[in-house]
Point group: C2
Chain length 192, copies 2
């Protein structure tokens, strides 16, 4: 499975493509950081970012797109720009019928370092090691995009298994409720 990880942003947007092999093997395919000029109109910046996403989707044909989920940031203005950048990425993927999955920063950190509170240096170090890179990806946004892709490759099977288990549990509960309702109805009839 090939994953396109995106650490969304308007000033710097991290792009990273990673292939997942058997077991937990991961192979780096591409990494870059896309920048848009801070003095340009918001709409123009979103368009430039969207065009870059389209080029990467054309070039690398991922099976899924993993985007960092933004919850909040100190700077509201930055948070909005980040959310909009993420939205534009998700839109491009959806237009191609590609699944888009959002992972929180702590999920990503936990997946690659074992701790949801790891710092940027630790994430970069682990990404470099896991992908067997000779040079650490820079800036942090590039490493984060690769970490997102790895996180998705490693979390996806677990998530699928969890969802299957939940669906089975829900099915059992439904069957149980139906049986109960039947029993109650029968009791009601007998009481009449």
């Amino acid at each position: 499975m090939r994953v396109f990880g995106v650490d969304p942003g308007l000033t710097r947007c991290g792009f990273g493509v990673v292939d997942g092999g058997p077991g937990r093997t991961v192979r780096p395919v591409a990494v870059d950081v896309v920048r848009t000029p801070a003095d340009a109109d918001l709409a123009v910046r979103l368009l430039q970012l969207s065009d870059a996403v389209e080029r990467w989707l054309d070039a690398y044909r991922p099976d899924v797109v993993a985007v960092e989920r933004v919850f909040s940031q100190h700077n509201v203005r930055t948070a909005m720009g980040t959310a909009q950048a993420g939205g534009v990425v998700a839109l491009s993927a959806a237009r191609r019928d590609l699944p888009v999955v959002f992972h929180t920063p702590s999920e990503v950190k936990a997946a690659v370092t074992g701790s949801g509170r790891a710092d940027k240096a630790q994430v970069t170090a682990m990404v470099t090691k896991l992908l067997g890179l000779k040079v650490a990806p820079k800036p942090a946004d590039a490493a984060d995009a690769l970490a997102l892709a790895i996180c998705h490759l490693w979390r996806a099977p677990m998530k699928t298994r969890m969802e299957e288990a939940q669906a089975r549990a829900a099915e059992l509960a439904r069957a149980h409720r139906a049986k109960l309702a039947q029993a109650v109805a029968k009791t009601g009839r007998n009481a009449q």
Copy 2:
């Protein structure tokens, strides 16, 4: 000038098209609210919204798109969705080389009611009156979208005049500085 006003949102997105005539006359063209299912994936919701925006841009061919600027909201999750919806709208406009302008809620309220702190009922009442509608547009998102378009029609000339005045002032200041520098250089030469 024809303005497409958008009150962005994922659950409800207000669309309103208004034509500006001579003086401060405004004429309603179209209004609607686009909804996307709350239980659908974010990417799918953004795609549905984007498709609706494309249809409206095709159908009404506005000269400019005015979007409500989101600063912050109580619910961070909602704020992010709103920002992403606004980003998707801005992207569609930018793809067609249409200018996109953002106005804050208080600018919109002030433009149509005279007060930046007017409530929703007041905004709806004024929009209904200004556009000569027989029935008040509902829900509030629809009225807000029309208010945004009117706000843009009325603020745009003022904004342009302000920018022109600022540019003239900057030009005068530059000329003054150049003259001063010349005088200083001359004084320096005379002193040698």
